[in-house]
């Protein structure tokens, strides 16, 4: 064991029904280091953090703090062991003052020693150079300062381990720099910081070490300076680079040459930066990038699912305005959302009702679809897409994930869209269905439908798309087509840099 070990996790297992969320994971944090914890969606980062903070209990494994075996059963246990967490959404009360937020829940006495707290808060804020005042209402501070106040609270509670869970995702560049300065300051005081983020550049800017998780397993621990960015991406996604270079089985697909169906210039929404995008008839393109790179947000902007900021949109050469989903639908755009359970299915309605719902919206509510008509539609698509359901009246919630996905696909196909956006249509469904969906995408393209396809599995996108748009940190960083469409090239573009 190393001398300055602060926190050690050994052989952590965590089972969720049907999923091994963590499998024999080790993690070590040393005094005065910033340790980045990296991994794609479902890698087990948040599960590990939640075990460490006492939100979940682990099924097997040991946690050592400064060499001593500890049990963490609740957030209070974690705090008593010197482990503090600052979450993405700050966990403070915006209606109280800065000082109150730093001391509430920690008072030992019945009465609040307001003056003493304010004085102490003022001292800590000053020593950490946080631009806040003790008597200021927290809600009037910027998000970055709120986060720093949360950190100051942790520091005052003598925390040894500070976990920062996606602290930078809602901060601008200046605020990020302020936060990094504070992190380095704490590091010099011997605090160990676990930094969870999906911004690669930030990892390289502040962290000393990187631990990568994938599918609930430990990939490895690396010194940041010894791990080039492209290697890190490869480790997160799970393909070694050398292996990738030999993998060039993608047959040439001629880029579609039909007329441009959709064209956006400087399109932006509340969640994205302005970007340009266009797609031709019968073309299949893809957006790729790591989680949080802005790939889903971009297609949501196209569909008008988030508040649209600005930019011009042309469909078949004509200027149109798309500010809400129904506008997009009227122009023949369909969108299959990333989160099937939240944005897609209506679990208590039957398969038939789920299939006709988009068409009903298109028709308007005063022209109901007759029962026999809707039954005919449902039967047609249940057969065409091979949806495995007991009957067309079965509630969708009772179907398997893959079949639920097909129901939503049927919903959009029924409206005969000219342009279909599929965001992660293959997530969490079995391999057979994945192939069926990919085939369907290609078949649609042959019928002159434009398709945007997003998947976190790059192979899938390479198999279906003729053009890939690569995003990193909310910017489009490359557009690949033709012979560039191979894993190695995609990964290099995602990672960026020269290596």
């Amino acid at each position: 064991m190393e001398e300055n070990c602060l926190l050690e996790l050994r052989g952590i297992d965590k089972m969720f029904p049907g999923v091994m969320a963590l499998n024999n994971v080790d993690f070590t944090l040393r005094k005065g280091e910033i340790h980045a914890l990296m991994g794609e969606n479902g890698a087990g980062k948040s599960t590990l953090i939640k075990i460490l903070t006492g939100v979940y209990s682990m099924d097997a494994g040991t946690i050592l703090v400064e060499g001593k075996n500890v049990h963490i059963g609740s957030p209070q246990d974690a705090q008593n062991n010197g482990i503090s967490t600052v979450y993405q959404e700050t966990t403070l009360c915006p209606n109280l003052t800065v000082a109150e937020n730093m001391f509430i829940g920690r008072e030992k006495s019945l009465l609040v020693k307001q003056k003493a707290y304010e004085k102490r808060a003022e001292e800590i804020l000053e020593s950490l150079q946080i631009p806040a005042r003790a008597r200021q209402q927290l809600g009037n501070c910027s998000l970055a300062v709120q986060q720093m106040v949360a950190i100051a609270r942790a520091v005052d509670m003598q925390c040894k381990v500070l976990i920062l869970d996606e602290p930078t995702s809602s901060l601008d560049d200046k605020e990020v720099n302020m936060l990094f300065k504070l992190m380095r300051d704490l590091k010099s005081r011997g605090v160990g910081i676990i930094f969870v983020t999906h911004f690669l550049e930030q990892v390289y800017e502040v962290s000393d070490r990187i631990t990568v998780l994938r599918n609930g397993e430990l990939v490895g621990e690396f010194l940041t300076e010894e791990l080039p960015q492209v290697q890190l991406v490869a480790k997160m996604i799970g393909k070694e680079l050398d292996e990738l270079n030999n993998l060039s089985d993608t047959e040439e697909r001629s880029a579609a040459s039909g007329e441009v169906f959709y064209q956006a210039e400087g399109l932006s929404s509340s969640e994205t930066l302005p970007f340009d995008f266009s797609i031709r008839k019968g073309e299949v393109n893809g957006f790729t990038g790591l989680l949080g790179s802005g790939r889903s947000e971009s297609v949501r902007a196209i569909f008008g699912a988030d508040k649209v900021g600005g930019g011009t949109v042309k469909i078949k050469g004509k200027n149109v305005k798309i500010t809400k989903p129904v506008d997009a639908m009227k122009h023949g755009i369909g969108y299959l959302a990333e989160d099937r359970k939240r944005d897609g299915i209506i679990a208590d309605l039957s398969v038939r009702e789920n299939i006709i719902i988009a068409m009903q919206v298109m028709n308007g509510f005063f022209k109901p679809i007759s029962r026999s008509e809707s039954e005919a539609f449902a039967d047609e698509y249940i057969k065409a897409l091979n949806i495995k359901t007991a009957s067309r009246e079965t509630p969708v919630g009772a179907l398997s994930g893959g079949n639920q996905q097909k129901v939503i696909l049927a919903r959009w196909l029924l409206t005969h869209p000219d342009y279909l956006i599929l965001d992660e249509p293959t997530r969490g469904i079995d391999v057979g269905t994945k192939l069926e969906i990919q085939k369907l995408v290609l078949k649609l393209a042959e019928e002159d439908v434009s398709v945007t396809f997003i998947s976190s599995e790059i192979e899938e996108m390479l198999r279906t798309c003729s053009r890939l748009i690569v995003m990193r940190d909310r910017h489009i960083v490359g557009e690949l087509k033709g012979s560039d469409l191979n894993q190695a090239q995609v990964m290099k573009t995602i990672a960026g840099g020269e290596s």
Binding site: P75, Q76, Q79, T90, T91, L92, C93, P94, N95, L96, T97, E100, N101, I104, G105, R106, E107, S109, L110, L111, V112, Q114, E122, E126, R133, R135, Q136, Q137, G139, N140
Partner: protein
């Protein structure tokens, strides 16, 4: 630079801002009434009458403010007040002890608070539903006790009821030359003590700050180490206790029990809290604001009557209009603030 920071006055918190608005509007309204309507408004007794008539409303509003700051609601307060009035009258008229009747009042209030608090915080049932049930239950119980109005005949109680604090130098000289001192009932003193007590609780006791934290962000307060269930439980318990006190004060004012006593008092109490700057969403509010909220609400009613609009619906219409005005004002003020913060 750092010194400057410390010297600089902090901008008001949302709570302080809304409270200040209420107090200013109340003063402006009262002075306007003095100038335009003259008559009774020129005498201090008018203000004292407002307090005398509404001491119990002030007390239940304090309880409601606590619950609302914690992010909840308690609509049973009027019905519990009524039940307490009726129970105490019957108890006293059957030869009950005066001191025991006070305990009875507090006991009934606490019992309701206990059950509400338990159901809301430990069984996690919607507070609106729980206290609605409590309201029906208390109203029903009152009617079971007696459908007919009951007048208190207890000797000791009558003495207590008639006891008034007379302040001669605030009085006025009547037309026949007699000095009529300003009279304040004992209930008003109780109400003022309640306001002061709740004020101290909310500002200086850690439990009180817990109410604000809980109303501000429940998940956060849990992570900050506050026992949210216990805190919420105590907020309903306090509201129940204050309803009990309010019941006894109500009885001291009217001297009789009636099944329709304190009808819709919960609505007036909610209105008072809101006018006083308590947000229904929780986390913002102040009991001093609530006190002035109650005065504002009752003054407006009085002004309406003094202007010759005697029909009862005019009071309701103005109350409704004023509530609307205050809510709009609050949301405009808070939104302006939000905007300014963003542009900074």
């Amino acid at each position: 630079m750092k010194n400057q920071n410390r010297q600089r006055r902090e901008p008001l918190t949302d709570t302080q801002l809304l409270m200040t608005i209420t107090i200013c509007i109340f003063l402006a309204m009262y002075i306007l009434a003095m100038l335009l309507l003259k008559g009774g408004f020129l005498h201090v007794q008018q203000l004292f009458d407002l307090l005398n008539d509404n001491a119990s409303l002030i007390i239940v509003s304090c309880g409601l403010t606590i619950v609302m700051i914690g992010g909840g609601i308690d609509i049973s307060v009027g019905a519990v007040t009524s039940l307490v009035v009726m129970s105490c009258v019957l108890f006293l008229n059957r030869g009950g002890n005066l001191f025991l009747s006070v305990l009875l009042a507090l006991g009934i209030g606490l019992a309701f608070g206990l059950v509400h608090g338990f159901l809301v915080s430990y069984l996690e049932i919607q507070p609106f539903i729980v206290t609605l049930a409590g309201m029906f239950f208390a109203r029903g119980m009152t009617t079971i006790l007696s459908i007919d109005p009951q007048k208190a005949t207890h000797e000791g109680f009558k003495k207590l009821q008639e006891a008034k604090i007379e302040i001669p130098w605030l009085g006025y000289v009547a037309k026949n030359g007699n000095l009529i001192p300003a009279r304040m009932e004992i209930g008003v003193v109780v109400a003022l003590l309640c306001v002061i007590g709740v004020f101290i609780l909310l500002k200086y006791v850690s439990l009180g700050r817990g109410f604000y934290a809980m109303g501000g962000n429940q998940t956060s307060s849990l992570m900050l180490g506050i026992n949210v269930k216990k805190t919420r439980f105590l907020s309903y318990l306090l509201s129940g206790l204050l309803s009990g006190i309010s019941g006894f004060v109500f009885l001291m004012h009217t001297g009789a029990g009636n099944a329709t006593n304190a009808a819709a008092m919960e609505m007036d109490a909610i209105a008072s809290s809101i006018i006083g700057g308590t947000l229904l969403t929780g986390g913002v509010g102040n009991v001093v604001g609530t006190f002035f909220g109650t005065l504002t609400l009752t003054t407006i009613k009085k002004i309406v009557v003094s202007s010759g609009l005697n029909d009862p619906w005019w009071q309701k219409i103005t109350t409704g209009g004023m509530l609307c005005f205050f809510i709009l004002l609050q949301s405009v003020v808070l939104r302006q603030r939000e905007k300014r913060k963003k542009s900074n």
